[in-house]
Symmetry: C2
Subunit: 237 residues, 2 copies
């Protein structure tokens, strides 16, 4: 953990934060091995970050001095990522990777080759998703919480939601065999669409291209979704 993320509920006033949630208290003790007096990197969810002291830690609460938090979080990536729902374990890791890399908007999309059982996974609960987002933010020393949306129907997403998302954004569809190389080092607002293991079916590719996405590829190698997403984000931005 490179940062302790404080939630809005923890903030008592401009000087003090109190963490009372048992899970996070245990985490502070067991993972951070925190002791009162420690000066740690702290951040307020969707707010500032900086160094601050742990004033006290007992079984009931941890009290932090947050008067010195005056740094802005690192800049986000200008991307809305649309990702075919990965299998649960890969979802967990991918949420952490993309959050650490600076993605702030993520849509998890149903496609033909997403197994139906993935939508029943406990990993999709709000609490579990939030947990992985927090881990990603803590890893990257970021405070801005990504928003994650579930799109359980491909057709409604493409017909009703995608046109709005493409206003003011270029759409890029990453899919093996597409004509263009993945662009490098862009700073345009972008919507990036990444398919499931096994890829989009041709009908889905056609719908995404028709909706205005441009097809791009990462070369002849077929990558696992988690590798591909990190590689795409690192190359694009």
């Amino acid at each position: 953990m490179n940062l302790i993320l404080l939630s809005p509920d923890d903030i008592e006033n401009h000087h003090l934060a109190r963490v009372r949630e048992p899970r996070r208290l245990a985490h502070l003790r067991e993972v951070h091995r925190a002791r009162s007096g420690d000066v740690m990197t702290l951040g307020i969810e969707n707010g500032a970050l900086g160094r601050g002291a742990l004033l006290s830690l007992d079984d009931r609460e941890a009290v932090f001095d947050i008067a010195g938090l005056d740094q802005a979080p690192p800049p986000p990536l200008p991307v809305h990522l649309v990702l075919a729902l990965p299998r649960p374990r890969m979802l967990a890791r991918t949420l952490e990777h993309v959050t650490a890399l600076g993605v702030k908007a993520l849509t998890l999309l149903n496609t033909r080759r997403v197994e139906k059982s993935y939508w029943q996974s406990p990993e999709l609960s709000e609490a579990k998703i939030r947990r992985h987002l927090v881990l990603g933010l803590e890893q990257a020393r970021d405070t801005r919480m990504p928003s994650v949306t579930l799109a359980k129907g491909f057709r409604p997403f493409v017909e009703d939601t995608l046109p709005g998302l493409l206003v003011g954004r270029q759409g890029l569809l990453a899919h093996p065999g597409m004509p263009d190389d993945c662009p490098r080092g862009i700073d345009r607002e972008t919507l990036l669409v990444v398919g499931p293991e096994g890829g989009f079916i041709p009908w889905e590719v056609e719908r995404l291209l028709e909706a205005g996405c441009r097809g791009i590829h990462l070369g002849p190698r077929i990558l696992r979704v988690e590798t591909a997403v990190t590689a795409l984000l690192a190359r694009l931005f």
Copy 2:
């Protein structure tokens, strides 16, 4: 699996390969759900790849028609990756990621912040490492087996091995806070050095810079090693 990788021992002649190893036979049945007559993407370790039929499959052996394998594997990345030994589970995943991305030379390096216990892990056995390399090759439809070297002493590596590796290669040290942005889209032969969770200690950074490496960074975000390695390779090449 996007390719079945045949080892040199499996090759009977220019037309036939026989797989007799029980583990891989089980894998063919259970993971590939292969049946005789299936036409599959096959590759010969360090050789050609293409489509070929599974002629027969029983408890004893699988026989493949390899007469039609005439494609070259995808181009490798022009990089020798020097990676501080990650913790065992991350090592396993990182071996697969970097192999899928096209790394052909990997040195696992001891540094101050590598826990000593990692060097005792069964994940470092030749068989386990090879297993992850094969998975990476099968994922990316590649046949060229990477070479993996263990460097259990930092100082001997930097003093005795590194100078030779830097002949004909630029050395890049990826480390937070280094002055230069990670270059993009290069095709020069490169030695890329990546530290452990927690980073290199200052003395190690100095030795690597003195040896001729240039310090580069990926921005203000602190990434896990597996995310950072994929991001560096995708941005560099």
